[in-house]
Each structure stands twice: as C-alpha cells, then as structure tokens.
C-alpha cells in the first residue's frame, strides 16, 4: 500500500465542514533550534493568517491531528512537489501548508511550503520577533499573500517568461497611435498656420486662389480629424492596457 493510501481510507471516515475545493490542511510545524512553545506560537499565527486567505477553509488543528493519528503513521517525507501534491489530494485538501519554525541566529522565523493539490508549489518565509507580539500574524499574512493565489503559482511554474503580453501589446499599439495622432495634429496646426498668413501657398495662385484655399483647408481639417481619431484610439488602447494589466494582477 502506498503512503497515500491510508490517508485516503481515513479521509472517507472523516467528516468536515470544508469542501474539497476550499479545504486547507496545515500540518503541525516542524521546529529547529526553537522551543516547542515558540514554534506553536508561530504555527498559530500562521493558522490565523491561512484562515484569512480568500477561499480558504482551514481544517482545525485537532481534526488534522486526529486524521494524522488515525492514519497510523506520520506523513511520508516527500522529496518532490508531485508527492506532496498527492498527499494534499489524499487529505482531501486544495492546499497543504507545511512549515518549519526556526530559532537560528537569535531570530525566530518560519519557512513555509504551500502545495496545491493540482501540482504547483510555492515557498515563503517570514521573521517573527519575539519582542513584538502580534507582529507574527501580520508577517505571516504578508508572506502567505505572496504565494496564495493559485494563478500566481501556476504562472510562476509554467510561464516564467512572456506573461502579461496583452497589456504590453495594447500599450504598444496605444503609444504608436498617440504618436501618430500627435504628428497629424502638428501637421494640421502647420497647415492652419500657413493658411492664416495671407493664404500660404495659395497667395500666388491668382484666380484659382479660392479652389486652392478650399483644398488646403480640407487638407488641414482631415489632418486634424485623423489626429483626433488617433489620439482617441491611443487613449482607448492605453486604458485597455491598464485594465488588462490590473485584471492579470494576482
């Protein structure tokens, strides 16, 4: 029987208010160079931070311990994310949070590993000064926020490069449109300026002055209209780029 199998059998016997899509299991912390009371304090701070994450239904410590005890042995020591992800699935959890509480170098800190049942994994750390009670909660929350979004994790794993292309394209096209619009605007202004000075090029046209003047006027108006359209398109593309950028934020 694989190490995961007893956990799966146990899962069938355990009732929990959380559904599989939102259940988060936080495994009791390991500790290094830190008294157990301090490690427990840091674990509780992390539990509170996990519970505050969006779409997270944190299993109580008692339930997690009961399930682990019921499984008859400890969680197998996985060597890779795939194995840990399988453990998360076996526990019926969307995420599995592990932590090591450390007390090295005169400082308390926590190293967290958040494993998604879908196979992705992220790591975070935070320091928690013993002299500032309550600070651990804030730092745990901040550390978790950096790794909690499944989209962020997946992107970091699968799309190390080339992400957020749409806003870049929109901004590029918008910038080009704005530049062209400014160019047409300047040309229009130049035409207007020339015509305002005794008819510009049409001053020597003689009898065809009126036709020349009308033609130049039409040309200037077209330039102004094109400029306005391009500036508008550029502004819209820029705004679209900003919206898509914000939309893709984790």
């Amino acid at each position: 029987m694989t190490p995961v199998a007893p956990l799966m059998l146990l899962l069938l016997r355990v009732t929990s208010p959380c559904d599989t899509g939102t259940r988060v299991v936080l495994v009791p912390f390991e500790r290094l160079a830190l008294p157990s009371a301090d490690a427990r304090e840091l674990e509780e701070a992390t539990r509170r931070a996990v519970a505050a994450m969006p779409d997270a239904c944190l299993e109580s410590r008692e339930d997690t311990l009961a399930r682990l005890r019921g499984s008859g042995d400890a969680l197998a020591a996985c060597g890779d994310a795939e194995c840990r992800s399988a453990q998360a699935s076996a526990l019926g959890a969307s995420k599995l949070v592990r932590g090591v509480a450390l007390g090295v170098g005169g400082k308390r800190s926590v190293a967290l590993t958040v494993t998604d049942a879908r196979g992705t994994e992220a790591r975070a750390q935070f320091e928690a000064p013993a002299t500032a009670p309550g600070e651990a909660d804030a730092r745990a929350k901040k550390a978790l926020e950096q790794v909690w979004s499944p989209r962020t994790t997946a992107r970091a794993t699968r799309e190390p490069q080339g992400s957020r292309m749409l806003p870049k394209v929109l901004w590029g096209a918008g910038g080009a449109a704005l530049l062209a619009g400014v160019g047409f605007g300047l040309a229009s202004r130049s035409t207007e300026s020339k015509l305002s000075k005794n008819g510009g090029e049409c001053a020597t046209a003689g009898e065809s002055f009126a036709a020349c003047f009308s033609s130049q006027l039409r040309k200037g108006r077209n330039q102004a209209r094109t400029s306005n359209v391009l500036l508008g398109v550029g502004a819209l593309l820029g705004a679209g780029g900003a919206v898509s950028f914000i939309w893709e934020l984790p």
Binding site: E30, L32, V104, A111
Partner: protein, 421 residues
C-alpha cells in the same frame, strides 16, 4: 565603510543586543587556533593542508566569537584562497601562543567579573608525536609543545569557564592524556576510556576534548577538500550538520556520533578517523556550538524530504559543510554571509547566496541542475565514495549510543512532532 569593518560593527551590535536581551549569564566565545604544516622531526614530512584547516577554523569561529586568534603561516595557495587573512595571523610559535593566551585570559577574567561565561576553544592542527617516555607533543614552528606544556600553559592558567580542546594531529591522544600502562596500537583510544578519571584531565572538569588519534599520514588529509578529514568532519558537525535532535546545539555526543556515521563506510582502517571525544565533566551536555546564538551568520535549511549525501562549496571551491541526511527530518547549517554557494549532491548542484545575517535559504526551493564531477584517482574515489556513505540522523544516533551503552536523556516530549516527518 569597508566590508570587514561593517561586519565587525554589525556583529558587535548583535552581540550587544544579545547580551541585553538575555536574562541569564551569557556565554562569550573565544578561539585560539594553532595550525602548522611543519613538524619538529626530520622524519615528519610537511603537511599540505594544516594551514588551510587553520584558516577554515578561523572562518568557522570568527562570526560567533568575540575574538579569534590564528597562529599559522599560510602558504601561497591558502593566502590566495583567504585574501586578507594572512595579515591577521601570527606565526605558530611558543611566544606568540603565550602572548595570545595572556590577552585572551585577561579578557575572559573581565567577562567573569561581569558575570558572563567565557568559553575558549583551543584548536591545534598539525604534526603530533609521542616521545620515548610516552608523552605526546605537537609541533610548533620553534619546537614541540608537550602535554606538560599544554597543562601548565594552556589549561591550568585558563580563565575560561569552559575550555574546548580540538586537536587534529597524529597521536594527539597522548598530547592530552598520559600513557601510563596503556596498550600501544590502533585500539588504544578505546582501551583508555575507562581510565580517564585517573588522569590529569580529570582535575579540570571544565575541559572537553575532541581528538583525532589517527597515526597514518595518508588518512590525515584529503586533497579533494584541501583539508584534514577529521577537521572537515568536525567543522561540518559544528556548522549544524551534527545537530541530531533539532535543538540547535551540537554537543559532544552528537559530534561523536556524526564522526562515526561519516566514517563508518570506510573499509580501510587507515582511512577511518580514530577519535576520542569527551565532554566537560562539569556539564556533559555542554554544547560545542549553538545555532541559536546571535551571530553574523546566514543559514541553509535542508528540509524534510531532501536526503542523501550533500555538501556546500563556496565560490572559491572550498567545501564548507558535508553531510548525509536522513529524509525524515529538517536540518539547518550555518554559513558565512556575503558569499555565493553551491549545494551539491552526486551529479547535481544548486546555486544560492546568503546576503545578510540571519537570512535563511531553503534548499527545497533551489533550482537543481546536473553536473559532471571529475574523478581524482583511485584513492580519492574511495574517500569520495565511502566518506559520508551512511545517513546521519536520530536513527543512527540512537543505535550508535545504544551500541556504546551510553544512556540518553529523555528528550522533550512532543506528541505532535511524531506526526510530522
């Protein structure tokens, strides 16, 4: 501001903060390292890496000590590997050693007046020899330092509350202990264990000893790591790899088990470091090192699940820490700040750096890639393959201690700890 000065100031601030924060008497650490490649006898060929070991002990102890003195003549290669260190050294002579001891004792006496607990680590790396009368001696540049000298000049006048002797030299057992009626041969270290209380060392219960008693030069140094094998094991253990129970401390029993595990796979008796390790009688649980102490070090966390033979090399190619980790527990090792490192195992490596004091780098998140390792010949292959071939962890430790008949203190009961890997 120059980097060394900034580091010194940082360490000073950290130490001040530590002493202010802790309520009990604070341990204050000092180290005197004597490392000499040359022997006093014509028959003693110069060692290659005693000076390297001295330099590495210096780098190990400096970030966690108030003062470290290195008495050594570093060769050209060692000076190139440790830029700036040569300027801090003095030659390994008797006057230099006595001057250093006088200064350190004065500082430790002041510490005692303040209520602190000064701890002196005395390290010797180099040639040792047992004389005709059975008295051991180690080689300084200007002559031998005999066991009588050791007691009269180092141990007896010491103001340290605890004195840790680390001696990596041939026949170093006889440098600390008198021969008496002891048998001569490879098994003498085992044979003398029951007689220690009658020897001179028993008069100094504050003294702990860590001795290499190898008598074969070819087993003493390993060119692949530019170091003596025993000293490499000791430094690895003291960096944190020897902490078997996760309390952050490496005590004498853990060091002994670590060395035994690391050398257990070596079939050739000449390659096995023959060691004698005894804690101070005054406090047998006294730790050689404590990772909890405030220091200017960074840390590598090797998490549960990552196992096997691992070693950390820095950008100079110096192997700082080596271990064979059991899978079912996490481990943390300390490393100097401001350097780039390679975490290596057979056939693969991962790079990382530590940029600030107390920074923790988690090895589980490092990107690994495959590497090819050049072979260095049959002897090197044997050492490479056999050393650290046995995993070290609670299972080995408990079995090893049970085999020695040494009772283990009941550890802090922690029901939850048994549930996690």
């Amino acid at each position: 501001m120059p980097l060394p000065l900034r580091r010194t100031l940082t360490l000073g601030v950290l130490l001040l903060a530590s002493s202010a924060a802790s309520a009990g008497p604070a341990q204050v650490h000092y180290a005197l390292i004597v490392a000499s490649n040359t022997g006093t006898e014509k028959s003693q060929a110069p060692l290659n890496y005693a000076d390297d070991d001295g330099a590495r002990y210096y780098e190990l102890f400096a970030p966690r000590s108030r003062e470290v003195v290195l008495l050594s003549v570093l060769d050209a290669e060692t000076q190139a590997l440790h830029p700036g260190l040569a300027a801090k050294t003095r030659p390994p002579t008797r006057p230099a050693m006595e001057a250093a001891l006088t200064r350190l004792n004065a500082r430790m006496a002041e510490d005692r007046v303040k209520g602190d607990v000064p701890v002196l680590t005395f390290v010797f790396v180099g040639h040792g020899k047992r004389g005709a009368a059975g008295e051991g001696a180690v080689s300084l540049l200007d002559g031998p330092l005999t066991r009588t000298d050791l007691y009269a000049r180092v141990i007896a006048p010491s103001k340290a509350s605890f004195l840790q002797l680390i001696v990596d030299a041939c026949d170093s057992y006889f440098f600390v202990h008198s021969r008496g009626a002891l048998p001569v041969g490879p098994a003498y270290a085992e044979a003398v264990k029951g007689l220690l209380s009658d020897r001179a060392l028993a008069r100094y219960p504050q003294v702990g000893v860590v001795l290499s008693t190898s008598s074969e030069r070819e087993s003493h140094e390993w060119s692949a790591i530019r170091s003596g094998v025993f000293s490499h094991l000791v430094r690895s253990a003291l960096s944190g790899a020897g902490d078997v129970n996760g309390d952050g401390k490496v005590d004498y029993a853990e060091l002994r088990a670590f060395v035994a595990a690391a050398s257990q796979g070596i079939d050739d008796v000449r390659g096995q470091p023959d060691v004698f390790i005894q804690p101070p009688a005054q406090d047998r649980a006294f730790a050689l090192t404590d990772l909890k102490d405030v220091s200017s070090l960074g840390y590598l966390l090797v998490p549960t699940g990552l196992s096997g033979r691992l070693w950390v090399e820095d950008a100079r190619g110096i192997r700082l820490v080596e271990l064979h980790k059991e899978r079912e527990r996490p481990l943390v090792v300390s490393l100097p700040v401001g350097k780039g490192y390679y975490l290596r195992s057979r056939g693969r490596e991962a790079t990382f750096s530590i940029t600030r004091a107390s920074e923790v780098v988690e090895a589980g998140g490092l990107p690994w890639h495959d590497v090819s390792v050049a072979s260095r010949g049959a002897a090197q292959d044997a050492m490479r393959d056999k050393l650290f071939s046995v995993p070290f962890g609670p299972r080995f430790y408990q079995g090893y201690m049970a085999s020695l008949g040494i009772p283990q203190p009941v550890d802090e009961a922690e029901a939850d700890a048994a549930l996690v890997p």
